[in-house]
């Protein structure tokens, strides 16, 4: 192999890294996948799967001392508990510069498979409303691609991972290659019908999720059995994760070498090329440098950016591939944990069976021509769902005690429905991450530091989404509606992106239209850091599609001798 250890090195084994590994291996490249986290075996590693609450430590209550001391940030996630803790990062072992004055939540896994194990599985294609937005309203640099460039790659990804959903024919939320949709429940269908009557431009549909509702022709992954908490791991592989899907495909080629417990400290650069990937073994602290013809950074937005910033050299004093100065800047997330909840009378006859790991979705309906007609730029969509109040809530609402109290809790309480807004965040130069000048982690790597605030546009958009959620619930017949806004800090939606953005001009972006560094031909970055804007939909499928597209481009370039 011409004095290279491997044809390709992929840093990270999560959603993007798994895809890079599969595509590179299937194209015949000998590929090394480096993962800083611990090894984890599909199935056997899911020790919390189907575990009944009475077998868990303190019945599902948080282990407060432990979480405060070692999981201060990670334990803020809904998916963090004793059935999943072994997947997560230990904040005291692997810290970042957490500063309550500049709150930013960096939520991350620490195992092979990364956050693909823990993600919420919602997948929505972007549209040209999103790809053209920066150019149209002047916020951020123009995306170097449009929907037509990525559409075939969305299809490529969807067919492989399996996405269940309902086709709607909406320009702002293109349809994909869908398995049969999950179903809305009886109240959600009622609310959907009322919304359609009252707000003809709005649609409520079932969420589009990377969960199998029917078998895939190319795979032996099982279909969903509706146990509920996917994030504990699914040994039949009903939801997409690197472990259930892409890594097995890469393994099957015989071309993949996977090394866990291997944190990348930095990349070596010489004469226009990445010449080495410097690794520290997290167990032994042993250092090693691997070489390859091409490097794919898929270490997550923060992880990849941190590696590039920590690879400064005489050639790139401000961080590798950072001639533009954009590296680390334009950090984005989605507005989150804001919306409304309503109580609905009626429908008492019904009580859904099965824990559907999915909800209802209302696609964006604001500013569909671009601009700021709605009082802000860009837009928001809603995720939510209807359920009946359970014993825990009802016990808190029911006075008294004794046999009557117990018997009243036997049946479920009233129906409630919640709608939560996910809003787009504009790319701002002053929202950034960098390396702390003095704080280092246990490997001597400078800690990531964050400076992020929600600007006026996000606040206006967040408030509007809250009011809209309440209005829709009222119109649908909710007897009482409460708005909520948890004022979630940046990072809390775990949709962080944008710090090594793609663009047309090497002067204002890090990556070109194929996720290739403008400055370094054999360096590709295909995780969330590549995103030029944030849209308002969950971004993971776009990372997957960009990754597959970038691999196709890179391997073509390699075969033509350009890389």
């Amino acid at each position: 192999m011409d004095n290279y250890d491997f044809d390709a090195i992929v840093v990270g084994s999560g959603i993007s890294g798994g895809w890079a590994a599969k595509e590179l291996c299937e194209k015949g490249l000998k590929t090394l996948v480096l993962e800083r986290g611990r090894p984890l075996e599909h199935g056997a590693g899911y020790t919390g799967e189907h575990q009944p609450t009475w077998e868990t430590e303190v019945r599902g209550l948080p282990l407060r001392d432990l979480y405060n001391d070692e999981y201060e940030i990670q334990s803020t996630s809904y998916a963090f508990n004793e059935t999943t803790r072994h997947f997560w990062n230990n904040d005291s072992n692997n810290p970042y510069d957490w500063d309550p004055q500049h709150p930013w939540h960096w939520v991350r896994a620490d195992v092979v498979g990364g956050r693909s194990l823990l993600w919420a599985r919602q997948v929505y294609r972007w549209s040209d409303l999103d790809f053209a937005a920066n150019k149209l309203d002047g916020h951020g640099c123009d995306w170097p691609i449009r929907y037509a460039d990525i559409a075939p790659w969305y299809s490529h990804v969807e067919k492989f991972i399996g996405v269940s959903g309902q086709k709607l024919g909406l320009a702002q939320l293109p349809d994909g290659e869908f398995l049969k949709p999950m179903e809305l429940n009886v109240l959600e269908r009622h609310v959907a019908a009322r919304i359609a009557e009252e707000f003809p431009e709005r649609v409520m549909t079932i969420g589009r999720v990377a969960i199998l509702t029917e078998p895939l022709p190319h795979s032996d992954r099982g279909t969903c059995h509706y146990c509920g908490p996917c994030h504990r791991g699914c040994s039949v592989g009903a939801y997409f994760s690197s472990l259930s899907s892409t890594l097995p495909a890469a393994t099957a080629t015989g071309n993949m070498t996977l090394r866990a417990n291997a944190v990348v400290e930095g990349l070596d650069y010489e004469a226009g090329r990445i010449t080495g990937v410097r690794v520290i073994d997290t167990e032994t602290r042993e250092r090693q440098t691997y070489t390859s013809k091409v490097v794919f950074l898929c270490a997550s937005t923060v992880g990849s950016t941190q590696i590039l910033l920590n690879s400064a050299s005489d050639a790139f004093p401000n961080g590798l591939a950072n001639t533009s100065g954009a590296l680390g800047r334009y950090l984005m997330d989605h507005t989150y944990a804001v919306g409304a909840m309503g109580v609905f009378p009626g429908f008492e006859k019904y009580y859904p069976m099965g824990a559907r790991p999915n909800g209802a979705y209302i696609p964006r309906y604001q500013n569909l021509e671009g601009g700021d007609e709605a009082g802000f730029y860009r837009g928001y969509g809603f995720q939510g769902g209807a359920a009946r109040m359970n014993w825990q809530t009802m016990a808190r609402l029911t006075p008294g005690f004794g046999a009557e109290f117990k018997n009243s809790l036997r049946t479920p309480g009233p129906w409630t429905m919640r709608l939560g807004g996910f809003g787009e965040c504009l790319p701002y130069e002053d929202n950034y991450l960098d390396l702390h000048p003095t704080k280092k982690d246990r490997f001597g790597i400078p800690q990531a530091r964050f400076r992020f605030t929600w600007h006026d546009n996000e606040i206006r958009l967040r408030d509007a989404s809250k009011a809209d959620a309440a209005r829709m619930l009222r119109a649908a017949g909710a007897v009482s509606v409460t708005e909520y806004d948890a004022q979630a800090p940046g990072g809390a939606a775990i949709h962080e992106m944008g710090t090594a953005r793609m663009g047309r001009d090497p002067a204002d972006s890090v990556l070109n239209a194929f996720n290739q560094a403008h400055d370094v031909a054999n360096l590709f970055v295909t995780d969330g850091s590549a995103m030029t804007s944030s849209a308002c939909v969950n971004p993971s499928i776009t990372y997957m599609a960009l990754t597959a597209r970038a691999v196709d481009y890179a391997t073509t370039q390699m075969s033509e001798g350009a890389i």
Binding site: G48, R59, Y350, Y351, M353, A355, R356, M389, A395, L409
Partner: protein, 200 residues
């Protein structure tokens, strides 16, 4: 076989199917409960908690809090999980209940007739004003787990009793319907088919 029987049978089968996780827990050799307790409750306090848990969730056509091990759960939370301040709220509440009993009837709380015990407990029920149901529901949904924090004794007691009961094996499988692997989703399923709540 009607649906209820099918579900029951499925629950039994699934109960067997999930046993590997039990055996994993055993094999791991971990006994986190063996961590040294901050202290044991006094025998008196333990007896009062037993009486209270039984008052809140008595045996009916299904077993009650005592059989489900709720008093032991409450002791674990109060002594090992609660902060010192939370523990004080709880233990002061127990002591006040006993003190009221002694001053009213010159008997300890556990020596009272059940009706008298219930009367004292009922007196602790907070007076609720006319409620705006949505706001109230939201507050209820987001109440701190385990009634941690400044929440008063009565609500702590009730929350821990309810949590301990409905998350116990007895509460989960006998009072509620335990179906860990439903196999399908039915958004139009009718409550009458099972007549009670799913274990969540």
């Amino acid at each position: 076989m009607d649906r209820r029987e099918i579900l029951k049978a499925a629950g039994v089968l699934l109960g067997v199917a999930i046993s590997p996780s039990c055996s994993r827990a055993l094999e791991s050799g971990e006994d986190l409960n063996a961590a040294p307790a901050s202290g044991e409750l006094s025998a008196d306090a333990q007896r009062i908690i037993e009486v209270l848990a039984d008052l809140i969730i008595p045996e009916t056509d299904t077993p009650g809090a005592i059989e489900a091990g709720v008093p032991q759960f409450i002791q674990q939370i109060v002594m090992d999980w609660y902060t010192a301040a939370e523990r004080t709220i709880f233990l002061d509440g127990l002591a006040a209940l006993d003190a009221t009993s002694r001053s009213n009837w010159s008997l300890s709380f556990v020596e009272l007739e059940p009706a008298q015990q219930a009367q004292l407990l009922a007196a602790l029920e907070p007076v609720r004003g006319p409620q705006e149901q949505g706001g109230d529901a939201l507050t209820a949904i987001f109440m701190p787990a385990g009634a941690a924090g400044e929440i008063p004794f009565y609500l702590k007691l009730k929350e821990l009793t309810v949590l301990g009961y409905y998350t116990s094996e007895i509460g989960s499988t006998q009072e509620l319907v335990y179906l860990p692997v439903p196999g399908r989703y039915d958004g139009d399923f009718e409550l009458a088919e099972i007549g009670r709540q799913w274990t969540t």
